[in-house]
């Protein structure tokens, strides 16, 4: 989900039409606009778009 707003450790995260509160205290320096993986109300990791693209490219080459 994408971080839309941050206030302290709390953030508003969105995905499609879905809006949720999430706690950011398990991530260092999270920023608005970043994609994060949410588990049980906490952002537990960032989604790294460069790695996602690399994986998809490797899959194209594999095929």
């Amino acid at each position: 989900m994408k971080i839309a707003e941050i206030s302290g450790d709390e953030a508003l995260v969105t995905a499609g039409g879905l809006r949720r509160k999430a706690n950011l205290s398990l991530l260092k320096n999270a920023k608005v606009g970043e994609y994060v993986l949410i588990h049980a109300g906490f952002a537990i990791e960032r989604v790294k778009s460069s790695e996602a693209k690399r994986t998809l490219k490797a899959l194209e080459e594999l095929a």
């Binding site: 398990l26 790695e51 899959l59």
Partner: protein, 383 residues
């Protein structure tokens, strides 16, 4: 890029599946365990077994947190709610899980307060809202959930909230995999490792599986392309190692902040897993300095006498030595609306996955050997 649709691209799925089939063209038969319940569900949901060659067999493992939670834990939670005036706060999956004699859902019918929460922090919010009542959160889950509970306990301590505690049943994955790796009955060649547990712990805690047990491993994401690529990686490894497929989420070293939160609040302890018994160092308990937030210490819940339904095969299913249709209860006495075993309750449970996606393939009385060979899956593509 939303990181979902791209990893469900049908054209690419078919191509990668073809690459897996080419690569697996060996006399060797592959038995790979998908450890995580979400993997099991998605393998069925997207019909991935149909795309694999006959010499790759996928077996389901113990990675559904609700399923491996033993009856004794559910019994304790119910006893605590009945003996005190506590509000039980829990993730939704736990409510229907049968204990020895009852479930939280049934207990709720007899006047116990059970609230479903989405996050442990919501339980802390409840505690602030009802200062005259104790709120006990059911701490169930692996390394992905444990840091969220640790953070909440730290927040409760900082905020001086005294009516909040956790009934701690957290478990850790590598120790359970060690037991499976040593089980002569299981005979797996490799593990599809859980993506979100690995996001927290990284890849190092699994390395003994390759070094000592010569097992091939891949940390996998949850979309069809993730799962197929991870299978490809396992089959293509020249020597056993931990490949990292889910690199868009998982870092090799894991999330060190989350690891620190776990270490601050919890210490390792022996833990009982449904079907696997007690496993040394496979659980987490709350450190003494946070004992005010440990429901077990706070309330001295007396001993419970857990009773298992001897017909239920959840234990064997969780270890990957039996599949659900081999259980006499499956689809008859044990169904999602009236579950006997935990694996039928959870949305990540192996029995629930078989029931939802392939029940019609298993006529009653089907022999165990044939059951393995007639799995037909429904394909559903979201695009």
């Amino acid at each position: 890029m939303k990181y979902v649709d791209e990893f469900r691209d049908r054209r690419l799925v078919e191509k990668v599946a073809a690459a897996v089939r080419r690569r697996a063209r060996t006399p060797h038969a592959w038995r790979i365990m998908e450890v995580c319940g979400t993997h099991t569900m998605n393998i069925f949901r997207f019909g991935l077994r149909d795309l694999l060659p006959g010499n790759i067999e996928l077996v389901s493992g113990p990675g559904c947190p609700v399923c491996v939670t033993p009856n004794a834990y559910v019994d304790k939670a119910i006893k605590l709610a009945e003996d005190t005036d506590a509000i039980i706060a829990t993730f939704g999956d736990m409510i229907k899980v049968p204990g020895s004699h009852s479930s939280l859902e049934k207990a709720r019918g007899s006047g116990v307060t059970v609230k479903t929460v989405y996050s442990c922090m919501d339980a802390l919010t409840l505690a602030k809202k009802y200062p005259s009542r104790e709120v006990v959160f059911l701490g169930v889950g692996f390394e992905t959930t444990a840091p969220t509970v640790a953070r909440t306990i730290l927040a409760a301590k900082r905020g001086g909230v005294e009516n909040f505690s956790v009934l701690c049943g957290h478990k850790t994955m590598p120790e359970a995999l060690k037991v499976l790796a040593e089980d002569p009955k299981l005979k797996v060649d490799g593990f599809l490792l859980p993506g979100h547990v690995s996001a927290v712990i990284g890849s190092k805690p699994y390395e003994f599986l390759c070094r000592k047990h010569r097992l091939r491993c891949a940390i996998a994401g949850f979309e069809p392309l993730d799962i197929l690529e991870a299978i490809y990686m396992i089959v293509a490894q020249s020597s056993p190692k931990v490949s990292l497929e889910y690199s868009r989420i998982v870092a090799r070293r894991g999330n060190t902040l989350a690891q620190g939160a776990i270490r601050d609040v919890f210490e390792k302890t022996a833990s009982t897993w449904r079907g696997m018994g007690e496993i040394a160092d496979s659980g987490l308990k709350i450190r003494r300095k946070f004992s005010g937030f440990d429901a077990e210490r706070k309330f001295r819940i007396g001993p419970v006498r857990p009773k298992e339904d001897r017909r239920c095969m959840c234990g064997e299913v969780l270890k990957g030595v039996k599949i659900p249709p081999q259980c006499r209860l499956f689809g008859r006495l044990c169904r999602p609306e009236s579950p006997v075993g935990a694996c039928m309750v959870s949305s990540e449970g192996t029995c629930a996955a078989y029931f939802k996606y392939s029940r019609s393939s298993f006529p009653p009385g089907l022999s165990a050997r044939r059951a393995g060979g007639v799995i037909r899956k429904k394909k559903r593509w979201i695009k």
